[in-house]
């Protein structure tokens, strides 16, 4: 290994701290990374080349880099009055906003109450039941929602009839569907998410609760003055992570529940489903531009959320 000194020549002689030396020394470990990296390159990095389409008027004949350059026209159109840009952005933000709010409150409530339950069997059985929706695909959830809201045979209308009210034809009334989708979202994830809070609560110092008990605090007070404040860091981190993704709609959720229903789709179209729809109607360039807009907003928000998390958690960021 006397080559170390005169290693300026590239190639055969390899410096001990050099790139090639490291690769060679740990080649087996690096080789083990290769399959995963190939997948990432194929499906995440190569597609970045296609982002150029967002700035062109793409047509198949001229190809991605031969099509006419149009600058920011596609983005301008997205925010013009003729497009649904504002509408779908609004839909995405509203559905996600309420999803975050209720998707935090409900799981925390479940976790706190589960913690109060001493009967092991009851706890186990109910917890399994609440975990069940997590295992269902959105298509299956869509089928279930159909069973509840179908006009002629659905459970919801059966109940309305039972109480002497007129049935509603849910599938042709767009105004209910944001709420239905938010409820479905909370329903599907609450049991799963409550586990995160239960995990956090299992690390809480039991002696604090004992001390509070000795001081005469009842359970209400222990929940409000001990459990909830101690859950705050977990809530902050999870909320920041969700805010980082607030521009991303859940494609599967929207399409699984509403599908192609032309009456309802405008009310609940989120950016993700809009991209998919416009791909077929308004062309690849326009939908690429929307996707890029979404990714950029996501990147900005994640960066901001990470900074905020670092400030709150004393240097510990989200990533």
């Amino acid at each position: 290994m006397n080559s170390v000194g005169r290693s300026s020549k590239p190639g055969r002689k390899i410096r001990k701290d050099g790139f090639l030396y490291e690769i060679k020394k740990n080649r087996i470990l690096y080789l083990m990374c290769v399959p995963a990296l190939i997948i990432l390159i194929l499906f995440c990095y190569i597609p970045f080349g296609g982002v150029w389409m967002a700035f062109t008027d793409f047509n198949v004949l001229d190809g991605i880099f031969g099509s006419k350059f149009v600058g920011l026209d596609n983005f301008k159109f997205f925010f013009s009055k003729n497009s649904m840009g504002w509408q779908v952005t609004y839909n995405t933000l509203v559905i996600n906003f309420f999803g975050i709010i209720f998707g935090t409150i409900v799981p925390i409530t479940i976790a706190i109450f589960l913690n109060e339950i001493r009967n092991k069997t009851y706890k186990k059985v109910t917890q399994s039941m609440m975990f069940f929706p997590y295992f269902l695909s959105w298509v299956v959830v869509g089928a279930i929602i159909y069973g509840i809201f179908s006009t002629d045979v659905g459970v919801a209308n059966n109940m309305l009839r039972f109480f002497g009210k007129a049935p509603i034809s849910w599938y042709s009334e767009p105004k209910y569907w944001k709420e239905i989708i938010i409820i479905a979202d909370v329903w599907k994830w609450s049991g799963y998410n409550s586990i995160i809070y239960l995990a956090a609560m299992s690390n809480f110092d039991a002696s604090l609760y004992e001390a509070a008990k000795v001081d005469g605090a009842n359970k209400f007070q222990r929940i409000f003055y001990l459990t909830l404040p101690m859950l705050k860091p977990t809530v902050v981190v999870l909320t920041l992570m969700s805010i980082g993704r607030i521009f991303y709609g859940d494609f599967g959720m929207i399409y699984g529940i509403v599908g192609n229903n032309p009456v309802l789709i405008d009310e609940v179209t989120v950016i993700d489903t809009y991209v998919y729809q416009t791909m077929r109607t308004l062309g690849f360039s326009y939908s690429t531009a929307i996707g890029l807009f979404q990714s950029l907003m996501g990147l900005i928000l994640v960066t901001v959320a990470n900074k905020v998390a670092k400030r709150i958690n004393e240097g510990e960021g989200l990533f």
Partner: protein, 297 residues
Amino acid sequence: MNKNRLFKDKLVTIIAYCFIGLFAIICLYPLILTISVSFSSEQEIAKNGYSIIPLDFTFDTYKYIFINSGSKILRSYGVTIFITVVGTLGAMLITSMIAFAISIKKLKYRNIIAFICNFTIIFSAGLIPWYMVCVNFYGLKNNILALILPSIFSVWNMFLMRTYFSSIPSSLYEAAEIDGGNYFTIFIKIAMPLSKTALLTVGLMYALQYWNDWWNSLIFINDKNLFPLQYYLYSILSNVNAISSGRVPSGAAGGIALPAETVKMAVTVITIGPIIFLYPFVQKYFVQGVMMGAVKE
């Protein structure tokens, strides 16, 4: 004072039992509804609507489905099982190898590799460029690989596994290294057997993801022979006539009215069937997965 406290404590407990019980029922109710409708007769459903107790209990719907589209459903089942098994095994291998490699602290570029992975979570090219590349360059249109490859590596799962591998003391590896083992044999012989729970957890997460996936088929698959179960259900739901238009062999299905409502629910039951039977046994691993993720946060 003390009495008041005891009363309030009792009240909290009672509220807790009621709330949890109620929410648990809300979570399971749709499943029971779906199953019971699938065993009801179409006429009763049309008359009385969906009911939590099977109306006029019958297997007619299932008979009808298997007579008319049994081969299609079996085929879709085959597709789903194939992509679930092949996809999960491939994903496990790919994910655990890279997770193990970057859990080794002396690997100099492990942070760069982690960043290459992480970056794909926070920034992406979007659907359209991804779709074009997949269809034009990789030929994934109507290709069964389209249902496997795009989801074969999840960065989240990789970080879960890395957390687990990192907790294995490196002294165990050093001993094996002195004995002349290379890192691949260490991975197979030491790291993997020590991480059985983590492997099972991540494996089940991948399996569930493959079983429930219909997004890739929505994007890439037109060929009915390649429909996985979930997408088959989706196509029925969005157009229930797809199944009604199937020719009814007059002898075999004579006397059975054309079901529509019950068919939807029966196909749903068929789609989630294995999950219903398996999830009580595997859910603890998913709980573990959440816990492992929570540790990292």
